[in-house]
């Protein structure tokens, strides 16, 4: 086994670490603490946070990549160990090989047979035309009619184990949080549901394709789950990349005013006057060319897809800093008129120190709100970009690519609805949770600022 650290893996863990550090630093700040506690003291905040945390956890697990070692064939003397070209993630392992159970082509959820007829030979060796049985669904059944009962029995068993696991996970939390004023129950409920569903999915998917399979015979549920990493990473990394630009420029413009302000204003007016989608499309094409021109940079295909993905995050970040920059500039302008900045001037405090101690901490709430607000907008934008053809690499599972690929499936008779449903469900849950959570955060941090989304299409 050889760990593979993709750029996006590194970045997302960097993000997690820096966020942890950030919150560690902020924990002393009573206002921030109070506001966060306001967010979490509503059960809605708890529930949505737990949902988001689940998605993030999956994304993080899916970001631990490795390549498996290949056994040397007989007769080869070389000591060198070679690795499989395929990159696996910890999450892939946890799903119990859900992604490795391919069918030939489409099959409906829980189906035992393929969606399309094929030439077969019956027991007597005659050529007949029928729906062939699936390779990885219902193999254990003697009689197809037992399917309903079988699913029910297996579900109950799975739910039992799920409940047990939930107890194990929630029990310690219960012990730790006794007397806490936060509505932990709500969170536990979600945790329980997530764990039970998780266990159920993994165990049932050994016998059935829960959401069917797609054109190429891949398990749709697995694809949808793989879309989580793309969605979560895009939503966070793009903002992460834009933050330094927006903050630096915004704070400088608002604080120093004069020509600095003029230049920054010019920059962001120019930037925001360009139709975003054109800018994004043009930039994505640019990176694509760069990657195509330098194929030696990436030894495995996944790295290439990953580089494109990072580029996309980067582009989305670079093209969307204008909104945040404008907000921060306005806030900084306001803050620099406030008594404490004036007082600091009167004390001869240096500019860097004023910026670091007085201005920056007081624009943090805007950054936070933008961060949570943009998250869902970016997840949604990904789908649209994939439709236009400037989204993430097709080899990287994403909801946008799923929707894009499945657009025409609806017009079939009978309708193939499960690919769209899978993508819809997972995407909707994440975006809904993120939107509700961002509402909570906004209410807690700044009920008066109504921020338009940075990503407009």
């Amino acid at each position: 086994m050889k760990p593979v650290i993709l750029w996006s893996d590194a970045l997302i863990y960097l993000l997690v670490i820096s966020l942890a550090f950030f919150f560690y630093r902020l924990r002393k700040d009573p206002q921030i603490r109070e506001r966060w506690s306001q967010v979490f003291s509503s059960s809605l905040g708890m529930v949505t946070f737990t949902v988001i945390a689940t998605y993030i956890l999956i994304a993080l697990l899916d970001s631990l990549h490795f390549r498996e070692a290949l056994e040397n064939p007989e007769g080869v003397v070389g000591q060198e160990v070679f690795y499989d070209n395929k990159v696996t993630s910890v999450f892939d392992v946890l799903t119990g090989g859900m992604g490795d159970r391919f069918e030939r082509t489409y099959s409906a959820p829980f189906a035992l047979q393929s969606f399309e007829k094929e030439n077969l030979q019956d027991a007597a060796g005659n050529d007949i035309r029928d729906y062939p049985p699936l390779r990885h669904a219902g193999q254990h059944l003697d009689d197809p009619d037992e399917r309903g009962m079988d699913i029910a029995v297996k579900s109950v068993t799975a739910l039992f184990w799920g409940a047990l696991l939930s107890l194990l996970v929630i029990g310690p939390q219960w012990l730790l949080t006794r007397g806490s004023r936060y509505p932990w129950r709500a969170s536990w409920l979600v945790q329980g549901i997530v764990l039970c569903t998780g266990v159920w999915m993994v165990s049932i998917s050994r016998y059935y394709h829960i959401l069917g399979t797609d054109l190429g015979g891949t398990d749709v549920l697995f694809q949808s789950l793989k879309g989580i990493r793309t969605g979560v990473l895009l939503g966070t990394l793009a903002t992460l990349i834009m933050l330094p630009i927006a903050i630096t420029l915004g704070v400088m413009a608002g604080y120093f005013k004069g020509w600095v302000d003029d230049v920054v204003q010019y920059l962001y007016t120019t930037m925001s006057s360009i139709p975003g989608i054109l800018l994004i499309a043009a930039s994505v094409l640019l990176f694509q060319v760069y990657i195509d021109l330098n194929p030696d940079f990436f030894t495995i295909g996944m790295e290439k897809a990953d580089a494109k993905f990072i580029a996309l995050c980067f582009i989305l970040g670079v093209t969307s800093w204008a909104t945040l920059c404008r907000l921060i500039r306005a806030e900084t302008l306001k803050i620099s008129q406030l008594g404490y900045v004036q007082a600091a001037h009167a004390f001869g405090v240096s500019h860097t120190r004023i910026l670091a101690r007085h201005v920056l901490p007081n624009v943090v709430h805007i950054i936070l709100i933008t961060f949570v607000l943009d998250f869902s907008a970016l997840v949604l934008a990904e789908a649209v970009l994939s439709y236009i053809g400037v989204g993430v690499d097709p080899s990287m599972g994403s909801w946008g690519n799923m929707i894009n690929g499945a657009r025409s499936e609806l017009s079939r008779e009978p309708t193939i609805w499960w690919t769209l449903t899978g993508a819809f469900f997972f995407m909707f849950t994440l975006v809904l949770a993120a939107n509700l959570f961002s509402d909570q955060v906004r209410d807690a941090f700044d009920p008066r600022v109504s921020l338009p989304s940075a990503v407009e299409l």
């Binding site: 008594g339 007082a343 405090v349």
Partner: protein, 539 residues
């Protein structure tokens, strides 16, 4: 004009009984069993500091409480009718028609995008059948009545085009439009400059008499009470603690709290002697101008002369009070001395050295010597820093050469000096009350051992009972450390206890200056006289 039936003087117009208001979510009692009566032709003053529940009482009487507050018990009766038992639809017919209300800040209480005429007319449209030309004429009559000049034209003005006093007059016109029996005036003069305050109060008093209104006057200002009210009730933490006629109240207050309130009124009989001779700070014809840009290329066509040639001297250990109304340029002058504003003309000399417009570096040594206390203590403290850090900031950046432990000792000493404890150093600003915070601000200023402190309205954001404490502390510190103050204020009433010298500013110019006694007892300039006349006093 409809004929109005005045109630006989002294007859009961509204009776509030056992009014209890609670917070909807926490159940906390905001107003507790308050009872009083309003009588025709009488002004009933409800006095209390902010948060005492006086405004809530008035809103509850009108059933205008925000969703967060609920009426728990009690009744409001008018002509035998219980207002609380009316349906909301019927209540709408009572509001504006039988009970009218004036709010504190007319600027925000008027709809900014509607002409004032239409706003007044709306009340009439709601409750009378007047329409069209008659309606307009009625409004103009009302405007004339409340003393709005040129009412025909003013009808089509938007609120922002009127002065503060005129806005409040529009509010009054609106309230009186349908000739209500009861008028509730919630701090009607607080947002106004002192000279205008008096006019508005006079107007209300006249109308009370002429129309036999029953007025509920809500205020925190004892001067206003003394000047206008017939009867007074003191509210403290949601309860009515004392009720009396005005004369009784001021001569024989029953409660200790009431006494404190009365004591806060200025004493214009005792002054401080002029202290020092050697000037510490000298201003010589200082000018601060802000450019007005116009036209295609944004050329500077003119300047706002915020400070237009001010000269003054402050001696060591002396307090110079700079008095003026808002917009007179007094705060700008303070900031200019601190080098936070560019000076376009004149000279600022500190200990004989010109310090105007010198660079940041060159200014640093003087920063130790000139310090500042701002008006709003909440905004002048970074909410994200502990109080100890806030105080330490100046010491660090001005490099007083103290070790960390020395710094901590100094901070502890300072905090204790301003009547706080060492433990407060670790707390954050929002955990303090306004008065405490202003003391922290004082400690911060003192931390670098300044020779001059510019106090920019340090008490105007504070409640009257706390104001005295802060002023007292400032006085003590001056005696102890020998610092000088440039005391910027709009409130003449606090001048006698504090100032040696007084300067009166108007339109960026110092119209009059002299010793406190000279100014307060024998003002020369008409503006000074007008200011002085509007100060309520105990005598």
């Amino acid at each position: 004009m409809t004929e109005h039936e005045n109630k006989p003087p002294g007859s009961l117009c509204m009776q509030v009984q056992d009014l209890t208001v609670v917070a909807a979510e926490s159940g906390e009692t905001i107003v507790n069993a308050v009872s009083f009566e309003l009588k025709a032709g009488h002004i009933f003053a409800l006095v209390g500091e902010s948060g005492s529940g006086k405004s809530v009482t008035s809103l509850a009487a009108m059933r205008l409480l925000p969703d967060a507050l609920k009426i728990r018990a009690g009744s409001v009766t008018m002509d035998g009718q219980d207002l609380f038992a009316l349906s909301e639809a019927n209540m709408q017919a009572v509001r504006g028609r039988r009970v009218a209300m004036i709010f504190q800040n007319a600027m925000t209480a008027l709809n900014p995008v509607q002409t004032v005429g239409r706003q007044v007319a709306e009340t009439l449209k709601l409750h009378t059948r007047l329409r069209g030309k008659a309606l307009r004429e009625r409004v103009i009559t009302l405007f004339t009545e409340v003393g709005i000049p040129d009412p025909g034209q003013r009808f089509d003005f938007f609120p922002h085009q009127l002065s503060g006093g005129q806005q409040q007059r529009v509010m009054i016109a609106m309230a009186l439009a349908c000739e209500p029996d009861v008028l509730i005036a919630d701090e009607p003069t607080t947002a106004l400059d002192v000279t205008i305050q008096e006019q508005v109060l006079n107007l209300i008093m006249n109308l009370t008499r002429s129309r036999q209104l029953a007025v509920l006057l809500i205020t925190h200002d004892m001067g206003v009470v003394k000047y206008a009210a017939d009867e007074v009730a003191v509210m403290y933490r949601g309860e009515l603690i004392e009720r009396a006629t005005v004369d009784d109240f001021f001569h024989n207050p029953q409660q200790a709290y009431s006494k404190r309130l009365i004591d806060a009124l200025p004493d214009l009989r005792h002054f401080r002697e002029a202290a020092a001779q050697r000037p510490l700070l000298e201003l010589d014809n200082v000018k601060v101008h802000f450019p007005i840009r116009k036209g295609l290329l944004q050329r500077v066509v003119d300047h706002t002369r915020a400070v237009d040639g001010v000269s003054l001297k402050i001696g060591r250990g002396e307090t110079f009070a700079l008095v003026g109304e808002s917009g007179s340029g007094k705060s700008t002058l303070g900031r200019a001395i601190l080098n936070l504003e560019d000076i376009v003309g004149g000279e600022v000399r500190f200990e004989g050295n010109a310090i105007q417009n010198i660079g940041r570096k060159a200014m640093l040594p003087y920063r130790k010597k000139i310090q500042v206390i701002f008006q709003n203590p909440f905004s002048s403290m970074n909410p994200r820093m502990a109080v100890g850090d806030i105080i330490a900031e100046g010491m660090i950046s001005l490099d007083l050469g103290l070790s960390e432990s020395e710094r901590e000792q100094t901070i502890t000493a300072l905090l204790e000096r301003v009547q706080l404890t060492a433990g407060h150093a670790r707390r954050y600003p929002h955990e303090f009350s306004g008065g405490q915070l202003q003391r922290v601000a004082i400690a911060r200023a003192l931390a670098v051992n300044p020779e001059l402190i510019i106090c920019d309205e340090p008490t105007s954001a504070l409640d009257v009972s706390i104001r005295a404490e802060v002023l007292e502390l400032l006085g003590q510190l001056q005696r102890e450390f020998g610092v000088s103050y440039l005391f910027i204020t709009h409130d003449l009433s606090i001048v006698p206890t504090l100032a040696h010298q007084v300067g009166v500013m108007q339109h960026g110019k110092l119209v009059e200056q002299g010793t406190a006694e000279q100014i307060l007892t024998a003002p020369q300039h008409p503006y000074t006289r007008a200011l002085l006349a509007s100060v309520p006093r105990l005598d």
